[in-house]
């Protein structure tokens, strides 16, 4: 039987490091960037990085649940564009922005639910169902908008605040990001639903035999993912003060990257909200830092790709 040894400090520290590779990576990255570019650690820049991370971070929280459950959601970028366009069109038709936002959230949740039904009831592989969703939702958005952006929603109302407002000196998207972080941490750690997500991803047959309603949970999981893209859509629409039909391209890949850098396993059963927010920050810092250092956008893309690969290798080593 396992004997419990009193832990030595060095073991504890080492253990902590092994369990928190993403966090250590983030801290190291901050130190390196701080040394290379003094501007990096200014309050303005830090808030700006966090704001950059917020849209990807919100999508990535939804993606975290999907990935822990053993799935993948490629539709989030297109779903974001669609929800943004719904909000834009509703406001253009004269609805108050708060109702338009509700409409956008509802459309995101609905799209997620439909995809969830295809996966849970239709037994489609998540990759295929969401790939189909990704392409057709993009088409739907272009159809709805006629391919033209909808813009200028004014500087008042909830829609203006979501992307451009502040709480004291903190940008509203950052506040929303941390609120979502708190909610997702609690969901994954403290609720029955959260535990079932891990169980489904860890051993789907086992989950079924334990009596977990796998289908219902899966539908709910993809609904949440759709809802989170819609929330990100509202913020993005507000930030750029327009709904663009081509918005959100490649966002699914950055969201997956954030989740994976955060230590989740693409084969399911493992992942944390804290890992994901760190992953989103790492991606944002690399882009921001390389910008500050005057590195070309092409190299930024190249480096981001490398970081994803390194993160997964480092994580597997433990």
């Amino acid at each position: 039987m396992q004997e419990v040894k009193p832990p030595r400090f060095i073991d504890t520290a080492f253990d902590f490091a092994k369990q928190n590779i993403p966090l250590i990576g983030l801290i190291m990255l901050i130190i390196v960037m701080g040394i290379l570019s003094p501007a990096f650690l200014s309050r303005f820049n830090i808030l700006s990085v966090m704001r950059q991370a917020s849209i990807n971070g919100l999508i990535a929280f939804g993606m975290t649940i999907v990935i822990i459950s053993g799935g993948i959601d490629l539709s989030v970028g297109s779903s974001l564009a669609l929800s943004g366009m719904v909000a834009g069109l509703l406001m253009q038709s004269g609805l108050p922005s708060s109702l338009a936002i509700l409409g956008a959230l509802a459309s995101g949740a609905l799209v997620g639910t439909l995809i969830g039904v295809l996966i849970a009831k239709g037994k489609l592989p998540p990759f295929i169902a969401t790939l189909g969703g990704m392409i057709s939702l993009r088409g739907l958005t272009l159809m709805l908008s006629g391919g033209v952006p909808v813009s200028r929603f004014g500087d008042t109302g909830l829609i203006a605040w979501m992307g451009r407002g502040y709480v004291w000196f903190i940008p509203a998207p950052v506040v929303i990001l941390f609120l979502a972080f708190a909610v997702f941490t609690v969901i994954l750690k403290k609720t029955v639903f959260g535990k079932h997500v891990y169980a489904i991803g860890g051993n789907e047959k086992g989950a079924l035999l334990s009596g977990i309603n796998v289908e219902k949970n899966k539908i709910f999981i993809y609904m949440i993912s759709g809802l989170m893209s819609a929330l990100a859509a509202v913020i993005l629409t507000s930030r750029v003060n327009s709904a663009v039909p081509t918005a959100g391209e490649m966002y699914e890949l950055y969201a997956i990257a954030a989740v994976v850098i955060g230590g989740a396993s693409l084969s399911g059963g493992r992942g944390k909200a804290s890992g994901t927010i760190i992953g989103a920050f790492i991606i944002a810092i690399i882009n921001n830092g390389l910008n500050l250092l005057g590195v070309s956008a092409y190299i930024q893309l190249f480096v981001t790709g490398l970081i994803i690969i390194i993160a997964v290798i480092a994580d597997r080593k433990k």
């Binding site: 396992q2 535990k195 079932h196 860890g202 035999l209 334990s210 009596g211 059963g269």
Partner: protein, 498 residues
């Protein structure tokens, strides 16, 4: 709990797998359920745990008729199973695993403190010491099994089914498991104990049910049974009909000789030899190390100590390609996973295994291919419309013949057949035995690994019995009785009672 199952019948499609089976477990009884592979044990258990539905028959618990539709139904009635493949979630903590789908909550949140208290109670009761917050994957299979038992108790199970619980455990872990089981006895629980290991059954259980070919052949208190009686009931069959006359030929030169082959945790100190024109058999239970040994012979893995001689040359086989060059062919245990490309044609399946011989400058020679494919599929009598037919559309027996064909096409000298007749119908079985005998007449060396005693007895010249990775016995197949092999597979007759 008093469980009574009466006249249980079960069909899978047109195939009947259980015939009027009666099964009873009295309150606080430890009852053994045994039978050979395919005897219907697991089907019966699946019905009892709500995974499968019976076709007809009645189930009574404490004399009340009951219905099972799902796993949850069975759990609600107090029946739990600890499976051979554990149903745990490796990344989740012990605590989370214990309460999965039975979470204790306060409002929408999980009440962790209450769960910890409950879990500690049950674990202390069973004298199991684990860190509730450690992920389950950190613990050995033995401890994981104990966790499953604790989980069953948390669900207030009255009847716990243990399916081959000791097959993956060390001796020490087995002792620990038995201690826990004895505590369950004192707590008034009933147990259905499924195992191939008769000594364990005699140690733990009071009574036994023996299934054979889907029928209950014996139910008896154990103090009225002995080792040989059980085995006779288990294997009681007629060797006569299934097997063609064994060809008698004088064996040729030695094709393969293994000396003291060892691979850590898999097999140890295995020596045997194979001559041209011989069929040797490897017997043993699942996990005895047979497949592991074959993998090492074929270069899938490497043995760490020992010597291998092929054609009187000492060889070290480092890869499958090398094994093929040396004249070995390997029909693997799982034809669907390892043996065949199911969505491809017969031709392609044979081709992929012979690409080198059938291509030049990287291009496949079509004429040569169709010639070789036709020749080898005719040799094994594959029944198909044409060689373009997709493997998936063939019957299990014909699929297996394609596997044989693709290996015969490589012109091997030694053919390893790992469970070649598993899951195929009797007629195809016969054809495969015929084929094996033809190979013998053509002076191939054949190594047959099988869990079916009848097959080993009917086909081979010599049988090697493995247990826990060691060679227990070498038997010339002339005057062997079935029980002899069973006794060696199951751990000797030291526990037998007279």
């Amino acid at each position: 709990m008093h469980l009574k199952m009466q006249k249980i019948n079960k069909f899978f499609g047109p195939v009947q797998v259980l015939f009027d089976v009666d099964f009873e477990v009295t309150p606080n009884e430890f009852h053994a359920l045994i039978g050979e592979n395919g005897a219907g044990k697991s089907t019966l258990v699946k019905i009892l745990t709500g995974i499968e539905q019976k076709t007809s028959g009645d189930v009574f618990i404490n004399d009340e008729p009951v219905q099972f539709k799902t796993v949850l139904d069975a759990e609600r009635l107090g029946i739990s199973i600890v499976n051979q493949e554990l149903n745990l979630f490796p990344e989740m903590t012990v605590l989370e695993n214990l309460f999965i789908c039975k979470e204790m909550t306060r409002g929408v949140f999980i009440d962790q403190d209450a769960q910890i208290k409950r879990a500690q109670d049950v674990l202390a009761q069973l004298d199991i010491h684990v860190d509730l917050h450690a992920p389950v994957k950190r613990y050995s299979v033995g401890v994981q099994q104990l966790i499953e038992i604790a989980k069953a108790l948390l669900e207030d199970a009255q009847l716990i089914i243990l399916d081959e619980p000791t097959s993956a455990l060390t001796t020490k872990e087995i002792t620990q498991l038995f201690n826990v089981l004895k505590k369950l006895k004192n707590a008034g629980k009933s147990i259905v104990y499924i195992s191939h290991r008769l000594p364990e059954i005699f140690e733990l259980c009071e009574s036994i049910s023996i299934l054979r070919d889907g029928k209950l052949v014996k139910r008896s208190p154990l103090d009225r049974m002995d080792f040989n009686g059980i085995i006779q009931n288990m294997v009681g069959y007629d060797l006569g009909h299934l097997f063609p006359e064994k060809p008698v030929i004088a064996p040729g030169k030695t094709l393969l000789e293994a000396r003291n082959l060892t691979r850590q945790n898999e097999f140890e100190d295995i020596s045997f030899s194979l001559k041209a024109g011989e069929i040797i058999g490897f017997a043993g239970l699942i996990g005895a190390g047979r497949t592991e040994l074959m993998n090492a012979l074929f270069g899938v893995t490497q043995f760490e100590h020992g010597e291998l001689w092929i054609d009187e040359q000492k060889v070290t086989i480092k890869s499958v390609a090398q094994a093929k060059r040396l004249g070995l062919g390997y029909v693997t245990e799982n034809r669907k996973e390892e043996g065949l490309f199911l969505d491809e044609s017969i031709t392609n399946n044979v081709l992929y295994n012979n690409l080198k011989a059938l291509s030049k400058w990287g291009l496949v020679d079509g004429d040569k291919t169709s010639e070789l494919v036709s020749r080898s599929t005719e040799e094994v009598q594959v029944k198909s419309h044409s060689n373009a037919q997709i493997i998936n559309q063939l019957s299990g027996g014909n699929q297996q013949k394609v596997v044989l064909a693709k290996w015969l096409a490589t012109q091997p000298k030694i053919l390893i057949l790992d469970e070649p007749t598993r899951g195929i119908d009797v007629k195809s079985k016969k054809q495969i035995y015929d084929l094996i005998f033809q190979l013998k007449k053509q002076y191939f060396g054949v190594i047959l690994v099988s869990s079916e005693l009848i097959e080993l007895l009917g086909v081979t010249d010599r049988i090697y019995v493995l247990r826990e990775g060691r060679l227990m016995k070498e038997l010339e197949n002339t005057q062997i009785k079935d029980e002899d092999i069973m006794v060696h597979m199951m751990g000797g007759n030291t526990y037998a009672r007279g």
